[in-house]
């Protein structure tokens, strides 16, 4: 009997710590999604030995709506983007024309960055898109993380396979590897500088690396982020684009 109690005591902590992928993804989704958000960003793209820096201001409402305006560099100033559900529009001030981003263009990099327009269009929560297994536990930068292998429920998504490393302390996917259906590694994506903003753990810095383009990397830094802001409907309209 004494041995049985001892065995139970040894086993119980590991049972208590066991998590399901659904639970982890639900908490990750909770961190990375929002009702409304207003932010200022700096995007630095390094490609072919050249560095280009963009400054943007963006507004988001839920997962379906996003509006973004480019402030710098001068060449791209005034360029705006509007995402409405599964459609993406771009206002081109130099020709005063709205361009719908569709077809092959969706796979191109946002302003030549390693983040594609398709990445920007991703609107579903991970919990709805993926299922998977916890592959193990590791330590990254002193933080304990779960390594989780994810497989898309619908293989037509941009990345049918993902491997994510989720920080056990804040449920932020500090590292991701994004794969094609064939198993080819397409991109890596890290999220760091996590801050608690209005009760939400949020990564202020992301680094995306396109594994198919040598020497190509994109760093996105949030200069400011505000959640639960009141946003006018007009911000997410074509009127705002062409204003």
């Amino acid at each position: 009997m004494r041995n049985f109690i001892l065995a139970c005591l040894l086993v119980l902590p590991s049972v208590a710590q066991a998590v399901t992928v659904d639970e982890v993804l639900a908490k990750v989704d909770s961190n990375l999604t929002y009702d409304t958000r207003e932010s200022s960003l700096t995007m630095t793209v390094v490609k072919s030995g050249r560095t280009k820096t963009y400054k943007m201001h963006s507004y988001g409402r839920g997962q379906e709506e996003m509006a973004m305006e480019y402030l710098e560099p001068a060449r791209d100033k005034g360029t705006k983007m509007l995402k409405k559900t599964d459609e993406l529009w771009m206002w081109l001030p130099s020709v005063e024309k709205t361009q719908k981003i569709s077809g092959h263009m969706l796979r191109q990099g946002l302003m030549g960055s390693d983040m594609s327009y398709e990445d920007l269009m991703e609107s579903s929560r991970w919990r709805d898109m993926y299922g998977g297994t916890v592959a193990g536990e590791e330590t990254i930068d002193g933080h304990k993380v779960w390594k989780i292998d994810l497989t898309a429920k619908d293989t037509t998504v941009s990345y049918p396979k993902r491997v994510i490393w989720v920080d056990q302390s804040n449920y932020i996917p500090v590292k991701q590897e994004l794969y094609a259906l064939s198993g080819m590694l397409l991109k890596s994506w890290t999220m760091t500088d996590v801050r608690l903003i209005e009760g939400k753990e949020f990564p202020m810095k992301m680094v995306i690396t396109d594994k198919l383009q040598a020497g190509s990397t994109t760093e996105i830094t949030f200069d400011s982020v505000t959640f639960k802001v009141a946003l006018q409907d007009e911000v997410f309209s074509t009127r705002w684009l062409e204003r």
Binding site: S48, K52, L92, H104, Q108, G112
Partner: protein
Amino acid sequence: MSLLLSLAMRNLGRNRRRTVLTALTVTLGTALLTLALSMLNGILGATLEKAAGMAGHVRVVDVDYARREQLMPLAENLPDVAAVLAAVQGQPHVLAAYPHIAMGVTGAREDQEIGERFALLHGAPEAYYRDVLHLDQFLASGAMPTADDEALVGRAFAEEIEAKVGDSLIVFGQTQDGSPAPARLKIAALVDLGSTTQNRQIWVAMSKAQWMADLDGGATEVLIQTDDFERAVDVAAGLRDLPALATYDVHAWDERSPYDQIGGLMTAIQSIAASIIVFITGLGVLNTMFMSVLERTAEIGVMRAFGLRRWQTVLLFFFEAFVIAALGGAVGIALGATGATIFGRVGIHLGEGASKMPATIPINETIYPHLTPDILVTGFMLGLAMAVVGGFLPALRASRIQPIDAMRQHR
């Protein structure tokens, strides 16, 4: 051997009409061959000269651009074109050098949505469009651009977007960094180069393409015109030694795909034409030589009975054919060379349709046969080959004649 040769010469005089007829066949074949090879040389030479001009007799590009040029990687550009131009200008055999940018764009008329209608957009100095591409000679309507925001548009692309001269065209490309590069252009003229592929292009001012690609003062390539496109390889080798070009890819047009295959293609076309003429003329020689064998069967039988060996019989007829071919070939070469020289001066007009061929195979309206010493030697040698081809079978047949059979048949 000298007996066989004198016998052959005597035999040629026995039936002069047949000898003249055979010699005329060889003359005609050789003359035709010389003229045909000169014409092909003229056509292909002019075509290659045009193709080489469009591609740049010598091209200077970034090494990585050369490696991935099918993707037109704007990021792999020549950032300081002025330095490249300064380095090449004044070099031996260099006539002119032009910066050039090529980029893929989608385009639409002002009132249309920018869709997925693709075109290849070029940016280059106007002199390149006029002096190298001769676009001013291919205008279907309109006039050459006079302002930076004006463009020449290929007819197929214009038809696809239902645009005409004077319409506003919105093109949407990408900068070298991949950010959007839209531009509004006014269609100055429609260009008809004769093929749909070639007519899906847009030509704009260098400054406009530089702005679109965000290549201020840069270009993706520098195209160099030399005084002799056939010696471009030597010029390229000389330019590669310049310190200013040491880090770039500098190659002649015929060292680059697809033009590096053209030399082989030219040889193949000339070989096919020559083979056809040699075969037809050889048949003529074959016919008259067979007649000669049949007529002289009894004589051959007697000679064989007196000890003429089979190989000597073959040699006898071979000598006859060879002498005819040498005489006929010499006259044929003279006639063919005269024709090629005359047509080389006045030209052979093919009609306007020829110049409307696809620009990747640019053919002139008038072709000028180009006679070279190589062609004269080839024509004469092939004239002899005609005799060998045409004379071999009859000679072989003659050698197989049994003396007793020959004498019995002609008793």
